[in-house]
Symmetry: C2
Subunit: 336 residues, 2 copies
């Protein structure tokens, strides 16, 4: 499913377009993040700055800011709540890297590799608590309910991922449950909050929740496809991480399902028994390629992306809606 | 500072007395804990049950229940909030054991030893999020503010503890900051909430906060003394953990301060350079004994205990106040 460079380029422009639309809010949000991650215990801002400054795309807070703007919100509560979303995301990244024993995050040494596992666990806890302090200062029990439920769902998704790791009998339904928990729940909460602060009707809240959830699933499917991609340059993370850790993702599930007995033996040896030789990642990539598993994973992502686009139709056309639609293309274009 | 068996026995009775006074509430709280730690992801209740059922004393939720009763509270919100306090405590225990690489907790194999570090981190996150969900359902922004601040302070205390680990230049002020964060903050929040649900005047809230904070400091000082005690049977945890991990606690600070250059060399070798031989724990215990460092740590705990007792004087005498006073004696008697 090759897409022209022009289309990919257009997708990158979508992120820029969205960022431009909420520029002032994003800058205020970044200032708040730096301000609120301060602590008299110096190691906390040091470690937090490492991961926050490493400069992710700020995709989740961007979504909160844009969703609020889409709903015609005029106040400044969305800025603080976008920072909460980023704190929760950062806390889960810190704990994920400990759990995954990752050495890289966004193309740089991960916090656990640099500072050790212990501070990563504890600074994650701090950021999580701080997110709730900022929400409490905002004062909306509804927002608190949405984000505390998202946090519990994220943890459930992560635990389920652990429980299915190294298990080739994992079903696609279980895999999707992991994805909905570990990734889509926070996307859904981030966008829904935009409608909540703007005090919009239930239908718009549900539409933004659906946009975020479907976008989040598409995002994770593409991420899982990229882990078996030929080149790793565009990722800023190591190709083959999921394979080495024995994570059961859709590309593997599809290749396993479509493979013969010898191929299933390969997957069981490498993922279940964790016996991996130096040629095995290339072999895994070849099997996934042969069965069209990457192509079909991306197609599945596209279907979720289409559902995200459909949800946006609850809102009138305009620059913010177009930019949010562009984000769907941006997430999927990463795989191409 | 030997205390008669009768006094120790009397102190044990204090815990029983307090438990008896809030028996029905405690049972409701235990039911709620079991109910709310449920998740469709089976590993979560399995792991959580291991630590929750291992049966700590439920000291912190007991304090919330008793404080509410002391304030004449008649509703049932304190039951759910006591469960939140226990969830936050359990989450920090799970993360502590990962951070400390502990093999034992409450005399049993710790969750991380049994299930691995990864689920311990993630189930800790789940319990923390679940605590906030239960608070949100309760609906008090004031309680949410108190417990989210406590959670942030706990994390700060834990990070500061890491930063001072293996550092014999740690000051007593830094040590106290660690203790106030990692232990006293949750005790203080647990008792303060009792006055908040009962809607009592600020002065009673402050009195209960002071009782909890001072009790928590006394509790931790005694814990730190017990880690160098002669016998480990009464602890249900291994003597010498702090020494092996190079934690800088008051017994060590006092012995270091009072020791000669050779003794300081011993502390630097064992705690800073982490070179420990099979006889070193006994040597550490002997030095601490020789300088009266255990005795003086317990005396310091007693002074904080006295402050906790003084705070109770804001309330009229009665069985609950007497039982809360007995808890101070109970915490300190553990060291004798």
């Amino acid at each position: 499913m090759p897409v022209s460079d022009a289309a990919t380029h257009g997708a990158e422009d979508a992120l820029t377009a969205l960022t431009d639309l909420v520029q002032a809010d994003l800058e205020a949000c970044n200032r708040l993040i730096v301000q609120r991650m301060h602590s008299p215990v110096a190691l906390i801002p040091q470690l937090a700055a490492h991961i926050v400054a490493a400069g992710g795309k700020r995709l989740r807070p961007l979504l909160t800011l844009a969703a609020a703007q889409l709903c015609g919100y005029r106040g400044d509560r969305h800025v603080a709540l976008a920072a909460c979303v980023e704190f929760i995301h950062t806390a889960t990244l810190l704990h994920d890297d400990v759990v995954d024993e990752s050495a890289l995050r966004r193309g740089q040494a991960s916090a656990n590799a640099l500072f050790g596992n212990k501070p990563s666990v504890l600074v994650g806890d701090f950021l999580f608590a701080r997110a709730f302090q900022v929400m409490v200062a905002d004062g909306s029990l509804k927002v608190l309910a949405i984000l505390s439920e998202a946090a519990a769902t994220i943890a459930e998704g992560e635990v389920l991922q652990l429980a299915t790791q190294n298990d080739t009998t994992t079903t696609q339904a279980q895999y999707l449950e992991v994805v909905e928990g570990k990734t889509a729940a926070l996307f859904a909460a981030a966008t829904r909050i935009g409608a909540v602060v703007a005090d919009r009707p239930e239908a718009e809240e549900a539409a933004l929740e659906s946009y975020g959830r479907n976008l989040g699933i598409a995002f994770q499917l593409v991420d899982d496809a990229l882990d078996y991609a030929a080149e790793q340059e565009r990722l800023g993370k190591t190709v083959g991480d999921d394979f080495r850790e024995g994570k059961i993702t859709l590309p593997v599930l599809l290749a396993f399902e479509r493979g013969d007995e010898a191929e299933r033996g390969f997957w069981r040896r490498t993922l279940e028994e964790r016996e991996q030789g130096p040629e095995d990642l290339a072999q895994a990539q070849a099997l996934i390629q042969r069965h069209g598993a990457l192509r079909d994973t991306v197609a599945r992502a596209q279907a979720y992306g289409d559902a995200a686009l459909a949800a946006l139709e609850a809102f009138p056309d305009g620059p913010v809606r177009r930019a949010l639609a562009g984000i769907v293309a941006f997430c999927i274009a990463r795989a191409r």
